[in-house]
Symmetry: C2
Subunit: 387 residues, 2 copies
């Protein structure tokens, strides 16, 4: 009985570019990317685009065609720009993955060609998955168009689709070859999507960077008023921390800890309980509030800091109580704990706060204290008081 | 305009164990593997098994159950052992991937559980793919039962299924967490499958290791007579070289060279032209003969060495001419060249021999010399002379 040992490392590298009006002919950033790729031959590029972006940006398709016309010597645009319904529906119906895989086949997109996903996190997750499984992985580029996707989902290494209604049941870990964050897209977001993406920045600030939280706290009103420059900084800083976390940790989650998941155990459950009427970021805001209150109740987070967290979330416009949290349903949310445990593979790991900027993992949660935290949220919620 | 640079490496490690009678209760090797996994909780194990192995090993299912009963403290066997039709059909029909993904869901197999594929390369490719896309990748263990899968396909990093009749159109690069090569399985292989797997060993010997080729040459008769000890050495050495190649090169083929593909450009096409009646290894044997003759015709491989290559293949029982190679059809095989170029992404890269043990890449192939090599194979083929 003998054995051979195999081990190797694989290096992944990509840039996240920040720009404005990516497809203006005079913006060289995308063309430069293709020019710098070490390719002897002209490569094909297949676009898959969020319908919600197309609807709000009437010139987008023409702009993309004009841009690639200009750079036709570098890359060959597949003229059939594929448009996919934006939002979770793109991840729910397997026909969209199939449509893309078929396009990869029909247009001869090989492992040295590119698939570009342009849209919100849902479209990017789905397009990234289709690219990852076609030919064992086609190079994919992401052009995120929501706050959430520009500061979190679109710059990371995960992709996924839902399967038989199960959220993210199918997916892979495959980094993009480049990400282009174009701030201009954000101007057409509706307020809920604008706000929702901010929750991820608060999450990462609370567990890792007190200074960043203070900045968010000080700029919450400007963010709520949709100040673009403020948002640009928030996205840049959040993206930077997110990238650092991935690179410094366990990018493909081969081990078990996922410490960037602060506020997420209840958020996942709330999304499901509300049939995804709650945006992910809206649910995360509630989850952050809940776990901050829990951290306060176990004596970790000071009363003053707990108040700051909740006040900042409220200034941003988040609603921190949701009827699905309510007593009658609280087994529902608490069930999220055991589902989270199962998902992690047996051992529960939850991030709590020992202070602002200081996340610490625990492996046990007291259900009663969770219920008390929910009760506090309910008491404090202005809209509930009125009702 | 600014950008953030992301880069990280991911380390992959796994062992390839060589054993006999893996599921004999007194064989601790599999149990030891589970014991050494750093798990706090007992993990689930889901089996997916090749029907061809079940048919030829009537006690297999009972043995597996008895083995896991013995080690029930370590791992929890899902009692529903899933049996999947062996051979290419497992990769052709999407229902088998679906069946596995549904089992992952039904039995609560998470990212810290295990899926074990047991069977030939086809089953392993399909099971590996299903595991790779479920929950963004469930740990998978391979128990290869053919020569090809024990020395090549089952120990590497690729998985795949066919899509709408397109070979390996869907797949990912994901290493197993362990491979268990049990030589006992090989005793029930039919002669064609026994022989076919040897072609990959000849391939790697010819391009990398003259000593190994000399060993195969000297032992060709013993291998043809199904001597088990000789086969065990062949598999071990071939596996070793294959693992070294992966670790030393570009494991996930992010770049473009795939120098272990000697003899494969025509093999892929021949498999397709014969509707996969030709086994992969049988096609590779022809491809090796063809590219060796081509290497001779451009003055790289000596006449004596070319003869040795062809004689060794014939001693092993390979047929080196196939009607699909014939003049009338030769555009068919030559079309394999342009398909291979396309697959590589524009630039053709073909491995040829400058001597036994010395593969060298070229980027151009002369169609006329290919036709002449085919003609030589036809002339020399005993069965064709008779017909
Ligand atoms: N891969 C990851 O690491 C990761 C991380 C977090 C969340 N996610 C996933 O991201 C998804 C949520 O993404 P999201 O929050 O970006 O929302 P979304 O993609 O679901 O989009 C929400 C809506 O906004 C529209 N839209 C997108 N861009 C627009 C723009 N510029 N102007 C106007 N409308 C626009 C869309 O058409 C859609 O109707 C979820 O499926 C979630 O699971 C993935
Ligand atoms: N992933 C890779 O890197 C890679 C590399 C090369 C080939 N492959 C793939 O491997 C597949 C071929 O695999 P294969 O050559 O192992 O054949 P196979 O898996 O197609 O099996 C051939 C037949 O042998 C039967 N069988 C398997 N084990 C047996 C045993 N011990 N006793 C009796 N019968 C047995 C099977 O049921 C089947 O009928 C192809 O799909 C090919 O594309 C993959
Ligand atoms: Zn999140
Ligand atoms: Zn092969």
């Amino acid at each position: 009985m003998s054995h051979l040992q195999q081990s190797f490392t694989v290096r992944f590298a990509y840039n996240v570019f920040f720009t404005e009006k990516l497809f203006t002919i005079t913006n060289p950033i995308l063309a430069d990317f293709f020019r710098q790729q070490a390719n002897e031959t002209r490569k094909k590029v297949l676009f898959a685009i969020d319908s919600g972006v197309v609807d709000t940006h009437p010139n987008l398709l023409a702009d993309i065609k004009a841009y690639f016309d200009q750079y036709a010597d570098l890359v060959e645009l597949v003229p059939d720009l594929i448009i996919i319904p934006g939002g979770e529906v793109a991840k729910n119906d397997p026909k969209w993955v199939e449509l893309l895989v078929d396009a990869v086949d029909r247009y001869g997109i090989d492992r040295h060609s590119y698939v570009i996903g342009l849209g919100g996190g849902s479209i990017l997750d789905m397009v990234g998955y289709a690219a990852a499984i076609s030919h064992r992985g086609i190079r994919h580029i992401r052009i995120p168009t929501t706050v959430l996707s520009q500061n979190d989902s679109g710059i990371g290494v995960k992709n996924s689709v839902n399967y038989r209604g199960k959220k993210n049941f199918l997916g892979t870990f495959v980094p993009p070859v480049a990400v282009f964050n174009d701030s201009e897209f954000l101007t057409t977001l509706d307020d809920r999507d604008w706000r929702a993406g901010i929750a991820e920045a608060i999450k990462v600030a609370l567990i890792k960077d007190a200074t960043f939280f203070e900045w968010i706290e000080a700029n919450a009103a400007a963010l709520a008023a949709r100040d673009m420059e403020t948002m640009a900084y928030l996205i840049h800083r959040c993206a930077e921390m997110h990238l650092q976390h991935i690179a410094g940790g366990d990018p493909f989650e081969i081990g078990s800890s996922r410490p960037l998941d602060f506020g997420h155990w209840s958020a996942h459950k709330l999304e499901q309980l509300t049939n995804f009427e709650l945006r992910h970021g809206e649910a995360v805001a509630i989850g952050i509030a809940l776990d901050s209150l829990y951290s306060q109740k176990i004596g970790w987070l000071s009363d003053a800091d707990t108040t700051r967290v909740l006040a900042t979330l409220r200034t941003l416009g988040f609603t921190l109580y949701q009827p699905m949290l309510d007593a009658d349903h609280s087994e529902g949310v608490l069930k999220g704990l055991s589902e989270f445990r199962e998902h992690l593979g047996g051992r529960l790991t939850i991030m709590l706060l020992q202070g602002i900027g200081k996340g610490v993992e625990v492996h046990e949660i007291d259900n009663d204290l969770v219920r008390q935290s929910i009760a506090t949220l309910k008491e404090q919620e202005p809209s509930v008081q009125l009702a």
